[in-house]
Symmetry: C2
Subunit: 179 residues, 2 copies
């Protein structure tokens, strides 16, 4: 009985460690996105930055965004090589854009009328995973969209490839590497 209790507590402890490790490593969730089966890749928040951008749809979307690449993707971006090789993964984090009163107050002296905007909370995170065989039907890319670690539904994921199709001449990637 004592042994079972010990084993149980060990399992609980290990589960805790596993959950902690999962979060620390960037695995927010083990769920896979529909259609493509893409999961959140470990450590993507620490990947090298491709670029940043801003998207504003008045009344609907007000975001600052960052795109990150794993080593294979970054190498391809830097070399300007298309198509991206298999194994390339691009991550895009979309944050709410919020005004920073703190920064504006500091800047007011030097720059009257300064408007500083910073990131608020993450809205969603998207991934493109290159596998020219597995995803041959969608330009060689698998797509995924997660909110709070949970993948969006099938209908959402059906929009990914059509939306990226206009960028076919850039291997379906909108983002340029920021100098």
């Amino acid at each position: 009985m004592r042994r079972i209790a010990y084993l149980l507590s060990a399992v609980v402890a290990l589960t805790g460690v596993a959950v902690w490790m999962a979060h620390a490593s960037g695995y927010a969730d083990e769920q896979a996105a529909p259609i493509y089966g893409v999961k959140i890749p470990a450590g993507y928040r620490d990947w090298k930055l491709i670029a940043v951008d801003q998207l504003l749809v008045p009344g609907k979307i007000d975001q600052l965004r960052g795109q990150f690449g794993n080593e294979i993707a970054i190498k391809a971006f830097k070399e300007g090589k298309l198509p991206f090789p298999d194994g390339a993964i691009i991550a895009a984090i979309h944050w709410t854009r919020v005004p920073s009163e703190y920064n504006n107050n500091v800047l007011a002296g030097a720059f009257p009328g300064a408007q500083s905007f910073v990131v608020g909370s993450p809205v969603n995170v998207q991934f493109m995973v290159k596998d020219s065989k597995k995803y041959a039907a969608t330009g060689g890319w698998g797509f995924a969209d997660f909110k709070d670690g949970k993948p969006g539904d099938k209908a959402l994921h059906e929009t990914c490839f059509p939306c990226h199709t206009p960028a076919k001449d850039r291997d379906y990637v909108f983002t340029h590497y920021a100098p």
Copy 2:
């Protein structure tokens, strides 16, 4: 004579390699910023991202910005530890913010009125280097501002610390780590 010519050509070749390596490694220049003597740290463009932000001063500044940290800085940001330990370096790249007609055209179908802004060219890059002894007079930080690899003048660098002083309770750092 032939030996001298050979040596000379070898020196020229090596100089070429050194210049190439300097650029490839992220050393845009060997010049140090006035007052603080900070040089451009190697490879900063590939450092992990701290956050992104936007600064708008109508008619003067219209930028998207990214802050990057070396491993010491990133660890401190993630752990929320202040003050930053010696050796921490924060880099900030400021790019012009430009509208992307390409993206807007693509987005128009799904998001009428969408305004996509991307990075244009780099305006300047700034660094904060923590050395609590060397820079004791300025909160433990050395500051540097470079344009096209060349440091700004003394007058510009005299503005760094006073501008960061309001953030004394955050160890003089404005940027928060983006979740």
